[in-house]
Symmetry: D2
Amino acid sequence: MAHDESRDEPEPGYTTRKEEHLRRLRRIEGQVRGLQRMIDSDQYCIDVLTQIAAATRALQSVSIVLLEQHLRHCVRQAVRDGEQVDERIQEATAAIARLVRS
Amino acid sequence: MAHDESRDEPEPGYTTRKEEHLRRLRRIEGQVRGLQRMIDSDQYCIDVLTQIAAATRALQSVSIVLLEQHLRHCVRQAVRDGEQVDERIQEATAAIARLVRS
Amino acid sequence: MAHDESRDEPEPGYTTRKEEHLRRLRRIEGQVRGLQRMIDSDQYCIDVLTQIAAATRALQSVSIVLLEQHLRHCVRQAVRDGEQVDERIQEATAAIARLVRS
Amino acid sequence: MAHDESRDEPEPGYTTRKEEHLRRLRRIEGQVRGLQRMIDSDQYCIDVLTQIAAATRALQSVSIVLLEQHLRHCVRQAVRDGEQVDERIQEATAAIARLVRS
């Protein structure tokens, strides 16, 4: 899972919007804590499910933005040095497939 | 969103597995905090996406278990007093549709 | 996959809206044939993907309606004879899980 | 929906695997016709839902392969002439978002 250093990538493509990602993830963390309070206080099941769907969509939104930044980054790298482009596209597609099926 | 009290439901169908749900949600909360650490330490984007897909699947698993318990509960209520069954099924189906599309 | 006859179910719960389901499925069949024409005439990839997403959503809509009718049917059966209710709910939930994850 | 000719793209990136895509789509068309026969002969609802989930996954697989070819194509174009890269990535990401949410 850890970043393979041999890929030699100084920093990921998403760093320019790091604060935005962290803010969104903190909000999602709050949603998950809210879900625990809902369960703990025996809230109505359908309302819990609605909140779970909202948290799921929020996670997907983060992943879409990260992915867009990653693709831009890959393309810039490809233009600059043409290295490992095929491998990168394959890897990004595998990540997209996991998102589509999750 | 709030539980309509006129439904007069003393407790939701999921209370028997409350501890299990809370344990799973605490684990998901941990995953979301882990995502913040990954972003904060500039982990590789594809690895972040893999973790987001894992958290999404974990949330979906919680919702599937909640839904099963809710459906059992609805059916038991229908058998006992036959009240509001159609409305309940419609409501559950709307929740399922939100999960399928999220 | 085949219907287990030992369940002794004279007809599924969806028969009252059979024509509607068939009409929707014929339209989806047309969408899938349209996709073949798009590929065959080298239409732009993003437009093909948009049409695939539309066909996928149309299939999901059919499954949501079928599921609602099935749940109503299960509940009616449960009220009438109380048989195999738990098994039915478990089976329906497994089907929902497949839809949520597909 | 039609391919915007001003984009000046001689042929989409997926043409090398056109036959494979057509073969997969013909199989999916067959699955959708099979669904109509299942409904028409009152097959058990859960079995119909299982087949719908299978057709949905098959459509998603086609879209993942198309998307991978499209991304490779975009990157090759970017390396060659650097044109409209940002617009293309944005467009591809919007298509991915539609797939993730469908």
